[in-house]
């Protein structure tokens, strides 16, 4: 009886510890604002050729132009308005379906519509 309880407790302890450790071991340091800003520009520019956003994004050297427009080319760049959390929440839209070109185009269009304030940082018209 007591041995069965011991075994069950041991299993529970193992499970809980493994879960916590997996969670903890997945969390690393925060990425700087400049890197986030450049990542958003790169993701947005993957859809530059889509008809849904035609004419609203630069046709060539898109990412470099957007980064230059936003001014986040330097490592000490920091988000002010909109704030970092706002940019991150808009970035989630662009992280959808990275392998599907059609869905990517739709995500870019959604981004420009829903996150006009963020798009304005990159000099992209709503």
């Amino acid at each position: 009886m007591m041995r069965a309880v011991q075994k069950r407790l041991a299993r529970l302890g193992w499970g809980a510890l493994a879960l916590v450790s997996v969670q903890l071991s997945c969390i690393g340091p925060q990425a700087p604002d400049a890197v986030i800003c450049q990542d958003v520009a790169a993701r947005l520019c993957r859809s530059a050729g889509c008809t849904a956003v035609a004419g609203r994004l630069p046709g060539s050297d898109c990412a470099a132009l957007l980064v230059g427009q936003a001014g986040c080319g330097t490592p000490d760049y920091a988000f002010t308005s909109p704030e970092r959390e706002r940019v991150l929440s808009c970035r989630i839209t662009l992280m959808r379906s990275e392998d599907d070109a059609v869905l990517q185009c739709q995500a870019a269009a959604d981004f420009l519509e829903a996150c006009a304030d963020v798009a304005a940082v990159y000099g992209v018209a709503p």
């Binding site: 407790l9 450790s21 997945c26 969390i27 990425a31 990542d39 970035r91």
Partner: protein
């Protein structure tokens, strides 16, 4: 915090002591002494003793005490308890190994890179954990997993050992039990027959002299004296059964009832007569015997006698007329009775419901010319014997077994 610490300590000892096997060895030493002792135990309930008689019997109730005499040997005894924890060593080894492995990983964490993979940023804007962070966390995990096993193993190993206790032990070598004290048991004797109101009799000084009526026939399990059960030894039960046999044969069953009995029934009745007489030699069973043998009963009337002659021959003990007092069935039972009554109802079974003054009386008649002539509204005069209580058509009244009847002049 204190509560948590107390709980944790209790938990550790509970879990740690779970795997401990205890083995107790008893070694008997030399005989210290030999002695005798007496124990007295009061037995529950009342014991019944019966002194049969008719129409009254004596019942004695006693409370018994049982004495137990014991011969006892007292020995010295050593009780040794050995506690083993077969899982303690392996648990401790496993726990320590895990802690050492975790410690090693922790100490070696500097060997892992502390640079995150910058090509991946999660939804929260964070890089994945560095290899050093992962190694550090896992070292904590491995150490944490080893800690309980280490504690449990240590506790179990700490509990191992042997303890001895010296004491004395008694061995009863011989025991005798006997009833050593009997005292009269007085109180209210309650006999509760099923479906009837209980009969309550007062037992004084452990004795009661009571008429042998229907309460005697109630099973002993339904008797209580002072709220306690009544017990009886087999010899006394036989006497009680003999009284019950007397109740079946006194007064004598109606002749037509005896005639209607099968041979087996007649034999049972004869056995009841014998049992009754064996216990109560003076029991009036002659009439029953005569009816069983087919002879006319001594109290019966010859067919040739006129009613006046029959009345003289019958010598009634009780005369019931409209002016008489009320009689209960038990008072009339077995008595020779002269009755004048008004017929109220007539039944094919030979039963007549009659009225003596305000008292209803059942008459049981034999087939005869006189019976044929009797009809409701008439007055009759009968010579009869009381036969107990009879209930029919919602009327419960004394039953009289008619020997002779005529329309009242």
């Amino acid at each position: 915090m204190k509560r948590f610490a107390a709980f944790a300590t209790a938990f550790v000892f509970l879990v740690g002591c779970g795997g401990i096997a205890r083995e107790t060895r008893v070694e008997r030493g030399p005989l210290l002494r030999h002695f005798s002792r007496e124990q007295t135990v009061g037995l529950a309930g009342a014991q019944l003793r019966v002194e049969p008689g008719w129409p009254e019997a004596k019942f004695f109730f006693t409370r018994e005490k049982q004495c137990r005499h014991e011969e006892v040997d007292e020995y010295a005894e050593t009780r040794t308890t050995v506690r083993r924890a077969p899982g303690g060593g392996p648990a401790l080894a496993a726990g320590v190994s895990q802690i050492l492995a975790g410690l090693g990983l922790f100490l070696a964490r500097g060997l892992f890179s502390d640079v995150p993979d910058t090509t991946r940023i999660d939804e929260g804007g964070r890089y994945p954990a560095t290899a050093r962070t992962q190694a550090t966390i896992w070292s904590y995990v491995v150490m944490a997993l080893g800690l309980p096993a280490t504690v449990v193993g240590a506790v179990q190993l700490g509990q191992q050992g042997e303890s001895s206790e010296r004491m004395t032990a008694e061995v009863v070598t011989q025991a005798r039990e006997s009833v050593c004290e009997t005292v009269p048991f007085s109180g209210a004797l309650v006999v509760a027959a099923k479906g009837k109101p209980p009969v309550e009799l007062n037992v004084t000084n452990g004795t009661i002299v009571a008429p042998v009526t229907s309460w005697v026939d109630v099973p002993l399990e339904r008797w209580t004296l002072g709220g306690e059960a009544v017990h009886v030894v087999p010899t006394e039960r036989a006497k009680l059964d003999a009284l019950r046999a007397c109740m079946r044969v006194i007064p004598a069953p109606a002749p037509e009832t005896v005639v209607a009995l099968a041979e087996a029934g007649r034999q049972l009745l004869a056995q009841a007569v014998d049992a009754c007489v064996a216990a109560v030699p003076s029991a009036p069973v002659d009439e029953t015997r005569q009816r069983l043998s087919g002879e006319p009963p001594s109290g019966s009337l010859t067919p040739a006698a006129s009613f006046a002659e029959a009345l003289a021959q019958f010598a009634p003990e009780i005369t019931m007329t409209d002016a008489s007092r009320l009689f209960d069935a038990e008072t009339l039972r077995g008595k020779r009775i002269h009755v004048r009554s008004a017929v109220v109802q007539r039944h094919d079974s030979g039963h007549f419901l009659t009225q003596v003054g305000v008292q209803p009386v059942w008459l049981l008649t034999k087939p005869s010319a006189e019976r044929t002539a009797i009809a409701p509204g008439q007055r009759v005069e009968v010579l009869a014997t009381g036969a107990g209580l009879y209930a029919s058509q919602g009327v419960s009244a004394p039953l009289l077994e008619v020997h002779r009847a005529r329309l009242a002049p």
